[in-house]
Protein backbone atom coordinates (compact mmCIF):
# COMPACT_ATOMS: atom_id res chain seq x y z
CA UNK A 1 0.00 0.00 0.00
CA UNK A 2 1.30 3.42 -0.89
CA UNK A 3 -1.26 5.60 0.85
CA UNK A 4 -3.22 4.86 4.01
CA UNK A 5 -5.79 7.33 5.31
CA UNK A 6 -6.90 7.38 8.93
CA UNK A 7 -10.26 9.08 9.47
CA UNK A 8 -10.63 10.41 13.00
CA UNK A 9 -7.67 12.00 14.80
CA UNK A 10 -8.19 10.86 18.36
CA UNK A 11 -7.07 7.98 20.56
CA UNK A 12 -7.80 5.11 18.17
CA UNK A 13 -6.74 7.00 15.02
CA UNK A 14 -3.45 8.09 16.55
CA UNK A 15 -2.64 4.60 17.77
CA UNK A 16 -3.46 3.18 14.36
CA UNK A 17 -1.02 5.64 12.81
CA UNK A 18 1.67 4.88 15.42
CA UNK A 19 1.20 1.14 14.90
CA UNK A 20 1.47 1.48 11.12
CA UNK A 21 4.89 3.07 11.49
CA UNK A 22 5.99 0.61 14.19
CA UNK A 23 5.00 -2.24 11.89
CA UNK A 24 7.18 -0.85 9.13
CA UNK A 25 4.69 0.90 6.89
CA UNK A 26 6.69 3.66 5.20
CA UNK A 27 4.19 4.90 2.63
CA UNK A 28 2.12 8.06 2.74
CA UNK A 29 0.04 8.43 5.88
CA UNK A 30 -2.86 10.88 5.93
CA UNK A 31 -4.82 11.66 9.10
CA UNK A 32 -8.17 13.41 8.72
CA UNK A 33 -9.80 14.89 11.82
CA UNK A 34 -12.90 16.99 12.19
CA UNK A 35 -11.64 18.72 15.32
CA UNK A 36 -8.96 21.38 15.06
CA UNK A 37 -6.93 19.85 17.86
CA UNK A 38 -4.17 17.29 17.60
CA UNK A 39 -5.09 14.04 19.39
CA UNK A 40 -5.84 14.62 23.05
CA UNK A 41 -7.13 12.48 25.89
CA UNK A 42 -10.85 12.54 26.64
CA UNK A 43 -11.24 10.85 30.06
CA UNK A 44 -9.90 13.86 32.00
CA UNK A 45 -12.50 16.13 30.35
CA UNK A 46 -15.19 15.13 32.83
CA UNK A 47 -12.72 14.83 35.70
CA UNK A 48 -9.51 16.82 36.26
CA UNK A 49 -10.01 19.16 33.32
CA UNK A 50 -13.48 20.17 34.47
CA UNK A 51 -12.35 20.84 38.02
CA UNK A 52 -9.34 22.79 36.78
CA UNK A 53 -6.76 20.36 38.17
CA UNK A 54 -5.45 19.70 34.65
CA UNK A 55 -5.01 22.20 31.83
CA UNK A 56 -5.53 21.53 28.11
CA UNK A 57 -1.79 21.32 27.35
CA UNK A 58 -1.57 18.27 29.63
CA UNK A 59 -4.13 16.34 27.60
CA UNK A 60 -2.01 15.89 24.50
CA UNK A 61 -1.62 12.25 23.38
CA UNK A 62 1.58 12.88 21.43
CA UNK A 63 4.30 15.48 21.82
CA UNK A 64 5.93 17.46 18.99
CA UNK A 65 8.72 14.94 18.60
CA UNK A 66 6.34 12.00 18.28
CA UNK A 67 4.20 13.91 15.79
CA UNK A 68 7.30 14.65 13.72
CA UNK A 69 8.43 11.01 13.82
CA UNK A 70 5.04 9.88 12.61
CA UNK A 71 5.65 11.74 9.36
CA UNK A 72 1.96 12.06 8.51
CA UNK A 73 -0.08 14.61 6.58
CA UNK A 74 -2.57 16.03 9.07
CA UNK A 75 -5.83 17.36 7.71
CA UNK A 76 -7.35 18.79 10.87
CA UNK A 77 -10.54 20.81 11.06
CA UNK A 78 -11.61 18.71 8.09
CA UNK A 79 -14.61 16.41 8.10
CA UNK A 80 -14.78 13.33 5.90
CA UNK A 81 -18.15 13.25 4.16
CA UNK A 82 -18.02 9.97 2.35
CA UNK A 83 -16.09 6.85 1.44
CA UNK A 84 -16.29 5.22 -1.97
CA UNK A 85 -14.55 1.86 -1.85
CA UNK A 86 -14.72 1.05 -5.59
CA UNK A 87 -12.81 4.20 -6.53
CA UNK A 88 -10.80 4.13 -3.29
CA UNK A 89 -11.56 7.73 -2.48
CA UNK A 90 -12.51 9.67 0.62
CA UNK A 91 -14.62 12.78 0.07
CA UNK A 92 -13.86 15.72 2.34
CA UNK A 93 -16.28 18.42 3.46
CA UNK A 94 -14.26 21.07 1.62
CA UNK A 95 -14.90 19.29 -1.69
CA UNK A 96 -11.53 17.61 -2.04
CA UNK A 97 -11.26 13.92 -2.79
CA UNK A 98 -8.41 11.84 -1.38
CA UNK A 99 -7.18 8.77 -3.23
CA UNK A 100 -6.04 6.07 -0.90
CA UNK A 101 -5.16 2.38 -0.89
CA UNK A 102 -6.09 1.65 2.70
CA UNK A 103 -8.53 3.23 5.16
CA UNK A 104 -8.68 3.13 8.95
CA UNK A 105 -12.07 4.23 10.28
CA UNK A 106 -11.63 5.85 13.70
CA UNK A 107 -14.44 8.39 13.94
CA UNK A 108 -15.49 7.41 17.45
CA UNK A 109 -18.87 8.35 18.82
CA UNK A 110 -21.00 11.43 19.33
CA UNK A 111 -23.27 12.24 22.27
CA UNK A 112 -27.01 11.66 22.05
CA UNK A 113 -28.98 14.82 22.48
CA UNK A 114 -32.52 15.67 23.60
CA UNK A 115 -35.06 16.56 20.94
CA UNK A 116 -35.97 20.19 20.43
CA UNK A 117 -34.17 23.46 19.80
CA UNK A 118 -30.93 23.71 21.73
CA UNK A 119 -30.98 26.35 24.47
CA UNK A 120 -27.95 28.20 25.78
CA UNK A 121 -26.67 26.64 29.00
CA UNK A 122 -27.35 23.09 27.79
CA UNK A 123 -24.23 21.02 27.23
CA UNK A 124 -23.04 17.65 26.07
CA UNK A 125 -19.51 16.50 26.83
CA UNK A 126 -17.36 14.75 24.27
CA UNK A 127 -14.77 17.17 22.96
CA UNK A 128 -12.24 19.53 24.46
CA UNK A 129 -14.29 22.43 23.11
CA UNK A 130 -17.40 21.03 24.84
CA UNK A 131 -15.49 20.74 28.10
CA UNK A 132 -13.99 24.22 27.82
CA UNK A 133 -17.44 25.73 27.22
CA UNK A 134 -18.88 23.89 30.21
CA UNK A 135 -15.95 24.82 32.40
CA UNK A 136 -16.37 28.45 31.44
CA UNK A 137 -20.00 28.40 32.58
CA UNK A 138 -19.05 26.71 35.83
CA UNK A 139 -16.51 29.40 36.61
CA UNK A 140 -19.03 32.22 36.88
CA UNK A 141 -19.90 31.67 40.51
CA UNK A 142 -22.18 29.16 42.12
CA UNK A 143 -24.85 27.76 39.82
CA UNK A 144 -27.60 25.15 39.87
CA UNK A 145 -26.54 22.24 37.68
CA UNK A 146 -28.90 19.54 36.46
CA UNK A 147 -27.19 16.48 35.01
CA UNK A 148 -29.44 14.33 32.84
CA UNK A 149 -28.32 10.70 32.92
CA UNK A 150 -26.46 8.98 35.76
CA UNK A 151 -24.12 6.89 33.62
CA UNK A 152 -20.36 7.13 34.01
CA UNK A 153 -20.01 10.51 32.28
CA UNK A 154 -23.02 11.96 34.11
CA UNK A 155 -21.70 10.74 37.46
CA UNK A 156 -18.25 12.17 36.80
CA UNK A 157 -19.66 15.52 35.75
CA UNK A 158 -21.87 15.60 38.84
CA UNK A 159 -18.87 14.77 41.00
CA UNK A 160 -16.72 17.48 39.39
CA UNK A 161 -19.49 20.07 39.73
CA UNK A 162 -19.97 19.16 43.39
CA UNK A 163 -16.22 19.52 43.93
CA UNK A 164 -16.46 23.01 42.45
CA UNK A 165 -19.14 23.87 45.01
CA UNK A 166 -22.17 23.95 42.73
CA UNK A 167 -25.55 22.61 43.73
CA UNK A 168 -26.13 19.49 41.65
CA UNK A 169 -29.16 17.36 40.80
CA UNK A 170 -28.83 14.19 38.74
CA UNK A 171 -31.88 12.86 36.89
CA UNK A 172 -31.92 9.21 35.86
CA UNK A 173 -34.78 7.53 34.00
CA UNK A 174 -33.94 4.04 35.27
CA UNK A 175 -34.70 2.93 38.82
CA UNK A 176 -30.99 3.04 39.70
CA UNK A 177 -27.87 4.50 38.11
CA UNK A 178 -25.76 2.11 35.99
CA UNK A 179 -28.22 -0.70 36.61
CA UNK A 180 -27.64 -2.62 33.37
CA UNK A 181 -23.86 -2.27 33.65
CA UNK A 182 -23.40 -3.12 37.34
CA UNK A 183 -26.51 -4.85 38.66
CA UNK A 184 -28.75 -3.73 41.55
CA UNK A 185 -26.31 -4.07 44.45
CA UNK A 186 -23.46 -2.14 42.90
CA UNK A 187 -25.90 0.35 41.37
CA UNK A 188 -27.03 1.10 44.94
CA UNK A 189 -23.40 1.72 45.87
CA UNK A 190 -23.07 4.21 43.00
CA UNK A 191 -26.29 5.94 44.03
CA UNK A 192 -24.90 6.36 47.56
CA UNK A 193 -21.79 8.06 46.21
CA UNK A 194 -23.95 10.89 44.87
CA UNK A 195 -25.94 11.38 48.04
CA UNK A 196 -22.81 11.07 50.22
CA UNK A 197 -21.55 14.23 48.58
CA UNK A 198 -24.69 16.31 48.79
CA UNK A 199 -25.79 15.65 45.22
CA UNK A 200 -29.53 15.07 44.75
CA UNK A 201 -30.29 11.94 42.75
CA UNK A 202 -33.75 11.60 41.19
CA UNK A 203 -34.29 8.17 39.68
CA UNK A 204 -37.17 6.52 37.86
CA UNK A 205 -38.14 9.64 35.99
CA UNK A 206 -37.22 10.88 32.54
CA UNK A 207 -37.05 14.42 31.25
CA UNK A 208 -40.04 15.74 29.32
CA UNK A 209 -38.65 19.09 28.18
CA UNK A 210 -36.19 21.87 28.81
CA UNK A 211 -37.69 25.34 29.15
CA UNK A 212 -36.08 28.73 28.72
CA UNK A 213 -35.72 31.14 31.56
CA UNK A 214 -38.74 33.41 31.31
CA UNK A 215 -38.34 37.15 30.97
CA UNK A 216 -34.78 37.09 29.76
CA UNK A 217 -33.99 38.56 26.38
CA UNK A 218 -33.24 35.76 23.97
CA UNK A 219 -31.00 38.16 22.06
CA UNK A 220 -28.41 37.83 24.82
CA UNK A 221 -28.09 34.12 24.04
CA UNK A 222 -27.83 34.30 20.30
CA UNK A 223 -31.59 34.25 19.84
CA UNK A 224 -31.94 30.81 21.38
CA UNK A 225 -32.97 31.70 24.88
CA UNK A 226 -31.28 30.30 27.93
CA UNK A 227 -32.32 27.24 29.88
CA UNK A 228 -34.14 27.98 33.13
CA UNK A 229 -36.13 24.84 33.96
CA UNK A 230 -36.00 21.12 33.45
CA UNK A 231 -39.45 19.53 33.27
CA UNK A 232 -39.53 15.93 34.40
CA UNK A 233 -41.83 13.24 33.03
CA UNK A 234 -43.58 13.07 36.42
CA UNK A 235 -44.53 16.75 36.15
CA UNK A 236 -41.93 18.23 38.47
CA UNK A 237 -39.93 21.29 37.45
CA UNK A 238 -36.28 21.71 38.46
CA UNK A 239 -34.68 25.14 38.30
CA UNK A 240 -31.41 25.01 36.34
CA UNK A 241 -28.69 27.44 35.34
CA UNK A 242 -26.63 24.79 33.57
CA UNK A 243 -27.81 21.46 32.16
CA UNK A 244 -25.48 18.65 31.15
CA UNK A 245 -26.98 15.93 28.98
CA UNK A 246 -25.20 12.61 29.51
CA UNK A 247 -27.53 10.09 27.93
CA UNK A 248 -25.02 8.04 26.02
CA UNK A 249 -23.34 8.19 22.65
CA UNK A 250 -23.85 6.78 19.21
CA UNK A 251 -21.14 5.68 16.82
CA UNK A 252 -20.16 8.34 14.25
CA UNK A 253 -21.18 6.41 11.14
CA UNK A 254 -23.57 8.87 9.46
CA UNK A 255 -20.93 9.88 6.91
CA UNK A 256 -20.55 6.23 5.82
CA UNK A 257 -24.14 5.81 4.59
CA UNK A 258 -24.04 4.45 1.06
CA UNK A 259 -20.41 3.35 1.30
CA UNK A 260 -21.27 -0.33 1.12
CA UNK A 261 -20.03 -0.93 4.66
CA UNK A 262 -22.37 -2.72 7.04
CA UNK A 263 -23.55 -0.21 9.67
CA UNK A 264 -25.36 -1.60 12.69
CA UNK A 265 -24.60 0.23 15.92
CA UNK A 266 -21.12 0.86 14.54
CA UNK A 267 -19.04 -0.29 11.61
CA UNK A 268 -19.45 -4.05 11.53
CA UNK A 269 -16.09 -5.79 11.45
CA UNK A 270 -14.53 -9.10 12.45
CA UNK A 271 -12.56 -9.77 15.62
CA UNK A 272 -9.49 -8.34 13.91
CA UNK A 273 -11.15 -5.05 12.99
CA UNK A 274 -11.41 -5.91 9.28
CA UNK A 275 -14.62 -4.90 7.50
CA UNK A 276 -16.02 -6.96 4.63
CA UNK A 277 -14.68 -4.26 2.27
CA UNK A 278 -11.05 -4.99 1.33
CA UNK A 279 -8.58 -2.37 2.51
CA UNK A 280 -10.91 -0.91 5.16
CA UNK A 281 -10.57 -1.55 8.91
CA UNK A 282 -12.36 0.02 11.88
CA UNK A 283 -11.01 0.82 15.36
CA UNK A 284 -12.12 2.46 18.61
CA UNK A 285 -15.63 3.47 19.64
CA UNK A 286 -16.96 3.37 16.08
CA UNK A 287 -16.07 -0.30 15.53
CA UNK A 288 -18.51 -3.11 16.22
CA UNK A 289 -15.99 -5.88 16.52
CA UNK A 290 -17.26 -9.45 16.45
CA UNK A 291 -20.74 -8.31 17.45
CA UNK A 292 -19.66 -6.05 20.28
CA UNK A 293 -18.96 -2.33 20.39
CA UNK A 294 -16.89 -1.00 23.29
CA UNK A 295 -16.71 2.60 24.45
CA UNK A 296 -13.53 2.04 26.39
CA UNK A 297 -10.27 3.90 26.32
CA UNK A 298 -8.08 0.80 26.64
CA UNK A 299 -9.51 -1.07 23.69
CA UNK A 300 -9.42 2.13 21.60
CA UNK A 301 -5.70 2.28 22.36
CA UNK A 302 -4.82 -1.40 21.98
CA UNK A 303 -6.99 -2.75 19.17
CA UNK A 304 -5.58 -0.50 16.40
CA UNK A 305 -2.24 -2.36 16.35
CA UNK A 306 -4.14 -5.55 15.51
CA UNK A 307 -6.39 -3.87 12.94
CA UNK A 308 -3.54 -2.28 11.01
CA UNK A 309 -1.59 -5.54 10.99
CA UNK A 310 -4.60 -7.08 9.27
CA UNK A 311 -4.84 -4.09 6.94
CA UNK A 312 -1.21 -4.47 5.90
CA UNK A 313 -1.57 -8.24 5.57
CA UNK A 314 -4.66 -7.87 3.40
CA UNK A 315 -6.50 -10.44 5.48
CA UNK A 316 -7.24 -11.16 9.14
CA UNK A 317 -4.10 -12.72 10.56
CA UNK A 318 -4.69 -11.63 14.16
CA UNK A 319 -7.68 -10.92 16.40
CA UNK A 320 -8.09 -8.66 19.43
CA UNK A 321 -9.74 -10.39 22.36
CA UNK A 322 -8.54 -8.64 25.51
CA UNK A 323 -10.91 -8.68 28.46
CA UNK A 324 -12.83 -5.37 28.36
CA UNK A 325 -11.57 -2.85 30.90
CA UNK A 326 -13.02 0.46 32.02
CA UNK A 327 -12.40 2.85 34.88
CA UNK A 328 -14.23 5.85 36.24
CA UNK A 329 -13.27 8.42 38.87
CA UNK A 330 -16.11 9.86 40.92
CA UNK A 331 -16.19 11.52 44.30
CA UNK A 332 -12.58 10.63 45.02
CA UNK A 333 -13.23 6.96 44.29
CA UNK A 334 -11.66 5.04 41.45
CA UNK A 335 -14.00 2.41 40.08
CA UNK A 336 -12.47 -0.24 37.84
CA UNK A 337 -14.40 -2.85 35.91
CA UNK A 338 -12.98 -5.71 33.87
CA UNK A 339 -14.94 -8.35 32.03
CA UNK A 340 -18.52 -8.54 30.83
CA UNK A 341 -21.34 -8.39 33.35
CA UNK A 342 -24.90 -9.56 32.78
CA UNK A 343 -28.14 -9.36 34.69
CA UNK A 344 -27.93 -13.06 35.56
CA UNK A 345 -24.62 -12.69 37.42
CA UNK A 346 -24.30 -13.14 41.16
CA UNK A 347 -22.23 -10.38 42.76
CA UNK A 348 -19.91 -11.40 45.59
CA UNK A 349 -17.76 -8.94 47.52
CA UNK A 350 -14.48 -10.74 48.10
CA UNK A 351 -12.41 -7.99 49.76
CA UNK A 352 -13.30 -4.86 51.72
CA UNK A 353 -16.86 -3.56 51.74
CA UNK A 354 -19.02 -1.09 49.85
CA UNK A 355 -19.76 0.64 53.18
CA UNK A 356 -16.07 1.45 53.53
CA UNK A 357 -15.97 2.65 49.91
CA UNK A 358 -13.18 0.21 49.17
CA UNK A 359 -13.84 -3.28 47.86
CA UNK A 360 -13.30 -5.89 45.20
CA UNK A 361 -16.36 -7.72 43.89
CA UNK A 362 -16.66 -10.65 41.55
CA UNK A 363 -19.50 -11.21 39.08
CA UNK A 364 -20.14 -14.92 38.78
CA UNK A 365 -22.24 -17.07 36.50
CA UNK A 366 -22.36 -20.88 36.42
CA UNK A 367 -19.39 -21.05 38.76
CA UNK A 368 -17.15 -18.89 36.56
CA UNK A 369 -16.07 -15.29 37.15
CA UNK A 370 -17.34 -13.09 34.35
CA UNK A 371 -16.19 -9.72 35.64
CA UNK A 372 -14.53 -7.94 38.53
CA UNK A 373 -15.39 -4.54 39.94
CA UNK A 374 -13.23 -2.60 42.36
CA UNK A 375 -13.54 0.66 44.24
CA UNK A 376 -10.22 2.07 45.44
CA UNK A 377 -8.55 -1.34 45.37
CA UNK A 378 -6.13 -1.00 42.46
CA UNK A 379 -3.72 -3.77 43.26
CA UNK A 380 -6.13 -6.63 43.96
CA UNK A 381 -8.09 -5.42 40.96
CA UNK A 382 -5.09 -5.73 38.66
CA UNK A 383 -4.45 -9.22 39.93
CA UNK A 384 -8.06 -10.21 39.29
CA UNK A 385 -8.03 -8.56 35.87
CA UNK A 386 -4.96 -10.56 34.92
CA UNK A 387 -6.50 -13.79 36.16
CA UNK A 388 -9.58 -13.07 34.10
CA UNK A 389 -7.38 -12.63 31.02
CA UNK A 390 -5.57 -15.86 31.72
CA UNK A 391 -8.73 -17.85 32.15
CA UNK A 392 -9.68 -16.30 28.85
CA UNK A 393 -13.08 -17.97 28.87
CA UNK A 394 -15.09 -14.79 28.54
CA UNK A 395 -17.50 -14.82 25.67
CA UNK A 396 -18.42 -11.34 24.43
CA UNK A 397 -22.10 -10.71 25.09
Amino acid sequence: MRTITVIGASLAGLHAALALRTQGYDGRLVIVGEEHHRPYDRPPLSKEFLTGALTADRLSLADAEEIAELDADWLLGTRAEGLDPPSRTVALADGRKLSTDGVVLATGAVPRTLPGEPLAGVHTLRTLDDAAALREELSRGQVRVVVIGAGFIGAEVASSCATLGHSVTVVEAAAQPLLPQLGARMAAFCADLHTDHGVTLLTGTGVRALHPEPGRSAAADGGRGRVGWVELADGRFLPADVVVVGIGVQPATGWLQGSGLVLDDGVVCDAGGATPVPGVVAVGDVARRAGHRAEHWTSAMEAPAVAVRNLLAGTTVETYSAVPYFWSDQYGIRLQLAGTTSAADTVRVVEGSPEDRSFLARYERDGATTAVLAANRPRPFTRARRELSREGGLAPV
Binding site: P44, P378, R383, R386
Partner: protein, 120 residues
Protein backbone atom coordinates in the same frame (compact mmCIF):
# COMPACT_ATOMS: atom_id res chain seq x y z
CA UNK B 1 19.02 9.41 52.87
CA UNK B 2 15.48 8.74 53.92
CA UNK B 3 14.48 5.78 56.09
CA UNK B 4 11.73 3.71 54.51
CA UNK B 5 10.87 0.89 56.89
CA UNK B 6 12.29 -2.23 58.51
CA UNK B 7 13.33 -4.78 55.92
CA UNK B 8 10.99 -7.39 57.40
CA UNK B 9 8.10 -5.00 56.77
CA UNK B 10 8.80 -5.03 53.04
CA UNK B 11 8.63 -8.69 52.04
CA UNK B 12 9.11 -9.90 48.48
CA UNK B 13 6.33 -8.75 46.16
CA UNK B 14 5.42 -5.78 48.36
CA UNK B 15 5.82 -2.04 47.96
CA UNK B 16 5.62 1.09 50.08
CA UNK B 17 4.85 4.64 49.11
CA UNK B 18 6.81 7.49 50.66
CA UNK B 19 4.76 10.62 50.99
CA UNK B 20 7.48 12.95 49.72
CA UNK B 21 7.28 15.72 47.18
CA UNK B 22 7.20 14.06 44.68
CA UNK B 23 6.20 10.71 46.25
CA UNK B 24 8.52 7.74 45.90
CA UNK B 25 7.67 4.04 45.66
CA UNK B 26 9.97 1.36 47.06
CA UNK B 27 9.60 -2.24 45.87
CA UNK B 28 10.88 -5.59 46.95
CA UNK B 29 11.06 -7.52 43.69
CA UNK B 30 11.94 -11.08 44.66
CA UNK B 31 14.55 -9.89 47.11
CA UNK B 32 15.95 -6.96 45.13
CA UNK B 33 14.95 -3.51 46.37
CA UNK B 34 14.19 -0.68 43.97
CA UNK B 35 12.92 2.87 44.36
CA UNK B 36 11.29 4.97 41.67
CA UNK B 37 9.12 8.06 41.52
CA UNK B 38 5.67 6.86 42.52
CA UNK B 39 3.57 8.85 40.06
CA UNK B 40 3.17 7.23 36.65
CA UNK B 41 4.59 9.44 33.89
CA UNK B 42 1.46 8.87 31.85
CA UNK B 43 -1.17 10.31 34.14
CA UNK B 44 -2.11 10.33 37.76
CA UNK B 45 -1.71 6.88 39.28
CA UNK B 46 0.42 5.53 42.11
CA UNK B 47 2.91 2.91 40.92
CA UNK B 48 3.25 1.60 44.49
CA UNK B 49 -0.27 0.30 43.94
CA UNK B 50 0.76 -1.32 40.69
CA UNK B 51 1.28 -4.97 39.91
CA UNK B 52 4.79 -6.28 40.41
CA UNK B 53 6.12 -9.05 38.21
CA UNK B 54 9.83 -9.73 38.13
CA UNK B 55 11.41 -6.30 37.93
CA UNK B 56 8.49 -4.80 36.04
CA UNK B 57 5.70 -2.83 37.64
CA UNK B 58 2.41 -2.42 35.83
CA UNK B 59 0.56 0.85 36.37
CA UNK B 60 -2.82 0.23 38.01
CA UNK B 61 -4.67 2.65 35.75
CA UNK B 62 -3.78 2.07 32.08
CA UNK B 63 -1.32 -0.80 32.44
CA UNK B 64 1.85 0.89 31.24
CA UNK B 65 4.75 -1.17 32.52
CA UNK B 66 8.03 0.21 33.90
CA UNK B 67 11.38 -1.51 34.36
CA UNK B 68 12.36 -0.90 37.97
CA UNK B 69 16.06 -1.11 37.08
CA UNK B 70 16.00 1.75 34.59
CA UNK B 71 12.70 3.49 35.21
CA UNK B 72 11.94 3.20 31.53
CA UNK B 73 8.50 2.24 30.26
CA UNK B 74 8.36 -1.04 28.37
CA UNK B 75 5.03 -0.34 26.70
CA UNK B 76 2.47 2.37 25.96
CA UNK B 77 0.70 4.47 27.06
CA UNK B 78 3.64 5.72 29.15
CA UNK B 79 6.37 7.28 27.02
CA UNK B 80 8.62 8.88 29.61
CA UNK B 81 10.81 7.22 32.22
CA UNK B 82 10.27 7.58 35.95
CA UNK B 83 13.30 8.59 38.00
CA UNK B 84 15.04 5.81 39.86
CA UNK B 85 16.68 6.20 43.26
CA UNK B 86 19.37 4.09 44.94
CA UNK B 87 18.27 1.92 47.86
CA UNK B 88 20.36 0.42 50.62
CA UNK B 89 19.81 -1.66 53.74
CA UNK B 90 21.65 -0.71 56.95
CA UNK B 91 21.16 -2.72 60.13
CA UNK B 92 17.85 -4.07 58.91
CA UNK B 93 16.47 -0.68 57.86
CA UNK B 94 15.71 0.20 54.24
CA UNK B 95 16.97 3.62 53.11
CA UNK B 96 16.43 5.49 49.87
CA UNK B 97 18.86 8.04 48.51
CA UNK B 98 16.57 10.52 46.83
CA UNK B 99 17.98 11.84 43.57
CA UNK B 100 17.69 15.59 43.07
CA UNK B 101 14.36 16.66 41.67
CA UNK B 102 15.55 17.02 38.10
CA UNK B 103 13.11 15.77 35.54
CA UNK B 104 14.17 12.71 33.59
CA UNK B 105 15.02 13.34 29.95
CA UNK B 106 12.23 12.07 27.75
CA UNK B 107 14.14 9.59 25.67
CA UNK B 108 17.83 9.73 26.64
CA UNK B 109 18.92 6.60 28.46
CA UNK B 110 19.92 6.85 32.07
CA UNK B 111 23.57 7.52 32.76
CA UNK B 112 23.69 4.70 35.29
CA UNK B 113 21.50 1.77 36.04
CA UNK B 114 19.28 2.13 39.06
CA UNK B 115 20.96 1.65 42.38
CA UNK B 116 19.96 -1.62 43.88
CA UNK B 117 19.99 -2.74 47.41
CA UNK B 118 20.12 -6.38 48.14
CA UNK B 119 17.65 -7.67 50.60
CA UNK B 120 19.59 -10.90 50.92
Amino acid sequence: MIPVCRLEDLPAGESVRLDLEPPIAVFNADGELYAIDDTCTHQDASLAEGWLEGCLVECPLHAASFDLRTGRPTCLPARKAVRTHPVSVLDGTVWVHVESAQPVPATAPHATAAGQGSAA
